[in-house]
């Protein structure tokens, strides 16, 4: 019994690392520009479809699919920034919500229209079989996704805190005018932030595509997971997103196992509302 529980928790941690990765993307642009990307879940979905197309057209595995998804989504991020975000950022609140929501519909239903509403999936052993460690069975695809996601999330954190690019982005987040006076271009920094955020999200999508169901509306659920993670971890915090992502992965897996698979989404939503209502600064934020 407890043995199964350990298995469930490990599964949750590995999935949680991927949640952490795409939530880092959301929290980055949120913290930097105070804009919420309602299309974020659909960026994950696009990453999944890029990986799927790479597999079906070229027979390529995650080694080709993941970098390509990162690249495609990073490009999309830049296009979205210059085409939409830069202008709606200055507009009224309604325009900000509508703009990214409209983008979400546009992406989701373009994919729906092209690929149909069918549930797609990758072949079960695209990455490799299943490893057994001391009686625990772990699928290689999940292990790969979890480990890569964890490393990239840590890398993102280092990029933001230890490099000059990160300091410049932080400066723009703090005070655009002051940053501009220091010779930093807010426009460029924000575009880079969008590229990084969307690229990381695309990578996360390509990683879970190997074991997750692929469907145009998957972004709706995953988008909410990202919101929960960000609200739990504190808006704008990558380490917060990492801890919260792992936690949510485990909570989701445990509630799926203990209460039933249909209730696991409800548990996540209720947790989200609870945090928004009672602790909007997140788990680790200060009051």
């Amino acid at each position: 019994m407890s043995f199964v529980l350990v298995q469930v928790i490990i599964g949750g941690l590995l999935l949680g690392a991927v949640y952490a990765l795409f939530s880092s993307g959301l929290t980055l642009v949120w913290g930097m520009m105070n804009i919420v990307n309602f299309a974020h879940g659909d960026f994950v979905m696009l990453g999944m479809y890029v990986a799927y197309v790479v597999y079906t057209l070229m027979g390529g595995g995650p080694l080709l699919g993941a970098p390509l998804a990162t690249l495609v989504l990073a490009t999309l991020g830049i296009v979205v920034y210059f085409g939409l975000i830069r202008d709606i950022m200055k507009g009224p609140m309604l325009a900000q919500i509508l703009g990214t929501f409209g983008l979400a519909l546009l992406l989701r239903y373009s994919v729906f229209w092209w690929f149909g509403a069918n549930f797609l999936s990758m072949p079960p052993n695209i990455v490799g079989g299943t490893y057994a460690f001391a009686g625990l069975r772990i699928e290689a695809s999940r292990l790969l996704a979890g480990v890569v996601a964890l490393l990239v999330t840590l890398g993102l954190h280092l990029l933001l805190t230890r490099t000059s690019l990160g300091s410049k982005m932080l400066a723009v987040a703090e005070d655009q005018t002051a940053a501009q006076l220091m010779g930093i271009r807010p426009d460029t920094m924000q575009a880079i932030a969008w590229a990084i955020a969307a690229g990381a999200t695309g990578l996360a999508g390509a990683l879970i595509a190997n074991f997750f169901y692929i469907v145009p509306t998957v972004g709706e659920t995953l988008g909410i997971v990202a919101f929960v993670t960000v609200s739990l971890g504190g808006f704008g915090s990558v380490p917060g997103a990492l801890v919260a992502g792992l936690l949510i992965g485990v909570i989701e897996s445990l509630s799926g196992y203990l209460i039933g698979a249909i209730y696991k989404d409800i548990v996540v939503y209720v947790l989200f509302l609870f945090f928004l209502w009672f602790r909007p600064q997140g788990l680790m934020g200060k009051t």
Binding site: T27, G31, M32, N34, V36, F38, G83, L84, I88, G91, P92, M93, L94, A95, Q96, I97, L98, G99, F101, G102, L103, A104, L105, L106, L107, R108, Y109, S110, F112, W113, A117, L160, M169, L170, A173, E174, P216, E220, I224, F227, S231, G234, F235, G236, S237, V238, I262, D265, I266, Y269, V270, F272, L273, L276, W277, F278, P280, Q281, G285, T287
Partner: protein, 333 residues
């Protein structure tokens, strides 16, 4: 004076429409436009006038739809009797959800409303008593006139027209009452409104409850016309999105904005569905998405905003106070 002339022309056209264009398709289209105009006008009270962008309004729509169908399916009553029940449910839910949620501002409010709606959809989908994923059906053969089950769309058209008129009258009355002034002040700057003594929380809550009640009526009417409700048609997030887009396209915070939006988008959807068949479903929402992105980018005041606010500087349009969008959380990554 000119305003009254325009108003009577529009009203006369609305009354004469199903007689001028009398094919079943056109009458049904007219009824649907009015139905969505009711829902979008109800949303407008909280989303447009109070500036609280609810993306989960479908939860109130679902209260009405499920109450109407439940009255028939569970108690053998006319769906009509479900309307008061739906209103009570929706207002109660709005009060419970509204108190903690309306304290959040901006994006946070929108996200909380999505989570409430999705939670409700998942709960209903897993509740056998409410028909789970299959939903509830209304009377297939009307027992008497009170079942409001008609083959023709004509009776629905006039019923919806009357309710839309009531909804708009309530909205108009609200905007000219003390509450309307409070709402406008809160929308401009909640902090300033509070410091001048406007009861911001209470006013927003009243607007939310009023909006919920009217949305639930729209849901009940929808269920009666279609004769059934299931979690997707009664509680799906896309219904919220449609309602919101119609109001925003026409002009959020303007009395006739939602009607204009509905009059453009409903025919667009119906015609593209009938032309493209099954393939149309996805494409319709692609077009919807593109339209919203374009409004947000170029005309955040909506189409009617183009007419009424010409001459004013563009940046002046319902600009919200950015300082209130922060709930105390840090900004730095």
């Amino acid at each position: 004076m000119r305003r009254w002339i325009w108003l009577s022309v529009v009203a006369a056209f609305a009354i004469a429409y199903p007689l001028l264009l009398s094919s079943p398709f056109q009458q049904r289209l007219g009824a649907l436009v009015l139905l969505y105009a009711i829902a979008a006008s109800a949303w407008n009270i909280v989303g447009g006038y109070a500036g609280q962008v609810s993306v989960g309004h479908v939860v109130f729509f679902g209260c009405g739809a499920y109450a109407a169908m439940g009255a028939y399916a569970k108690f053998g009553l006319s769906p009509l009797f479900g309307i008061p029940g739906g209103i009570v449910l929706a207002v109660g839910l709005a009060a419970i959800v509204g108190v903690p949620t309306l304290r959040l501002s901006g994006h946070y409010f929108s996200m909380a409303t999505i989570a409430v709606a999705e939670t409700m959809r998942l709960i209903v989908t897993n509740t056998e008593w409410l028909g789970a994923a299959v939903g509830l059906s209304g009377p297939t053969v009307p027992r008497n006139i009170f079942d409001l089950s008609f083959l023709s769309a004509l009776p629905y058209y006039y019923l919806f027209l009357a309710i839309l008129a009531i909804t708009l009258a309530i909205t108009w009355w609200m905007t000219n009452s003390r509450m309307g002034f409070y709402l406008r002040a809160i929308k401009d700057s909640e902090r300033a409104a509070r410091s001048l003594g406007a009861p911001a929380s209470r006013t927003k809550l009243y607007a939310y409850m009023l909006s919920a009640a009217l949305t639930s009526v729209a849901g009940a009417l929808y269920a009666m016309m279609f004769g059934f409700v299931d979690p997707e048609s009664g509680l799906g997030i896309l219904i919220s999105v449609k309602i919101l887009i119609m109001a925003a396209l026409g002009g959020a915070g303007l009395l006739f904005g939602p009607l204009v939006g509905a009059a453009i988008l409903v025919p667009l959807e119906e015609i593209s569905n009938s032309w493209l068949g099954g393939k149309g479903a996805g494409l319709t929402f692609v077009v919807y998405g593109a339209i919203i992105v374009l409004i947000a980018r170029f005309q955040p005041g909506g189409l009617l905003g183009l007419l009424t606010r010409r001459g004013k500087p563009k940046t002046d349009m319902s600009k919200t106070d950015t300082s209130k969008t922060d709930t105390g959380a840090g900004h730095a990554p």
